[in-house]
Symmetry: C2
Subunit: 286 residues, 2 copies
């Protein structure tokens, strides 16, 4: 079986490792925007061969793991080109735009839109991890529009990886993911920015910042070439979450300025309820 | 040597473990607001005896590890009561108020104000960790006002624990710590609040939230009885950091609404520079 991976980075490289582990006799082909990173993914053994354009027709499955704007750009051409039994799966963080983009394509049945809730703040083939997807949620969108035999193959592979499958409407996906992923990134970026602006002398930040700060700004390391396209595609939902977040911060600041510490206490006691939710996440997905 | 610990929780309990490891023939006495937790700290072997009021005079060292408002309330009485060679060390997250509170006390030389940059989001004696302070920064304020022999004893113990000592003015401490600790907690609390408000159905949050979300809202588990007094004592500095953070978020939102993605890209690329700072923190402080 031939699998082509468009974008052998953190996600694509981890998919390569999972394919190697769970799919018998797989031969892995890869492409990458950066020739240097493509060479690295060959050197690391993530892929067996470069995925040249003239090999697309020989692929049984194509995995798309590139920034969400680039995925939109490539998808139509890829669908046009693949053979009639090939499956194309995308793994991006936004789902509405891509599902809409492909809705009327004659080969729509050969496409599956997914979003694995897995990742780290690192990028590139060296960031690939052998069990990145184990015990993680895999969101599948519009499964009724994917050809049943192809869908079944994909679900089977994801289950072998240890993923927990959830079906979700792409519009609902984009609304919810704005809250639990996209907003976290922005809060983290802006926290990093605020501290960096203040503490021009980095040595002082370094001296006084502990693991709590490191945890809240960890996502601020995430690369803009991945995240700007996400912000672009999910612009409206993100603006909504950001508005609510800023309102909550302003409300907190007003209470603090007014010295209403009892109200702040009640508010925080309620927020502590997130402990149960988080313990669940850590336990099942870590 | 007798050491009394006021507040045998995460910090006090971890100090007990460090004292047991590094101070020969130490006998540990403890007190706690909660009788149940005090009993737990005895059961866990963190302390040897309850610190009854009538034993205060027999203590060689007293460690204060209670919320910062309670610390202010207790400190004068404790200083009045201790014998003339005892040292009182406080470990709270704010330093200006306590240093000012004690400035004119006749036994000022028997007091040392510190802030260990160490902790977790958990509380109580079960949260105590044997090596919580290893490789962590210990900030010392106004060391010139502590009696040299007592200061030397404390520094020696902290160094044995593996702490890296830094001297800092208490006002400067409170300004800086607002950025790298207090603001992180508020951004985390408000992120938790925003998501909880939206997702009344917790199952959905749970399904879609990954390790990135868990990381940014980890501090939202922190207890209000610890944090409200900190917000109270460091009110002005926190309001300042919060204002800057909200400004940055509003600016980000405006750029997003205006579709200025190139500017956002540049901004994030610059923020990525925090990677070096964070790698430093992780390496030296974990």
């Amino acid at each position: 079986m031939n699998i082509g991976i468009i974008g052998v980075g953190l996600i694509g490289g981890s998919l390569a490792l999972s394919a190697r582990e769970h799919i018998p006799d797989v031969i892995l082909y890869g492409s990458n925007r950066s020739e240097a990173n493509l060479q690295k993914s060959l050197d690391l053994g993530l892929i067996d061969h470069k995925l040249e354009e003239n090999l697309i027709q020989q692929m049984d499955v194509i995995l798309i793991a590139i920034p969400v704007d680039a995925a939109l750009d490539r998808l139509i051409d890829l669908l046009d080109e693949v053979n009639d039994n090939a499956l194309i799966i995308d793994f991006g963080s936004t789902k509405s735009a891509i599902c809409q983009h492909i809705a009327l394509h004659s080969k729509r049945g050969q496409f599956l839109a997914t979003h694995p809730i897995a990742g780290t703040e690192y990028a590139g083939p060296e960031a690939a991890l052998p069990n990145l997807f184990g015990d993680k949620i895999q969101i599948l969108c519009e499964t009724e529009r994917t050809r049943p035999d192809l869908l079944e193959w994909a679900q089977d592979w994801f289950r072998k990886m240890g993923m927990n499958l959830r079906e979700m409407d792409p519009i609902e996906h984009d609304q919810h993911i704005a809250y639990v992923s996209h907003l976290s990134h922005i809060s983290s970026y802006m926290l990093g920015k605020t501290v960096m602006e203040k503490e021009k002398d980095h040595a002082t930040v370094f001296d006084m910042a502990g693991s709590g700060f490191a945890s809240t700004v960890r996502l601020a390391k995430s690369a803009p070439h991945m995240w700007i396209p996400i912000f672009k595609q999910n612009q409206q939902n993100i603006i909504e979450t950001l508005t609510e977040y800023i309102n909550n911060l302003n409300q907190f600041k007003n209470l603090l300025e007014a010295g209403k510490f009892e109200e702040l206490h009640e508010q925080i006691a309620e927020i502590n309820g997130i402990r149960q939710i988080l313990d669940g996440i850590t336990k099942t997905k870590n």
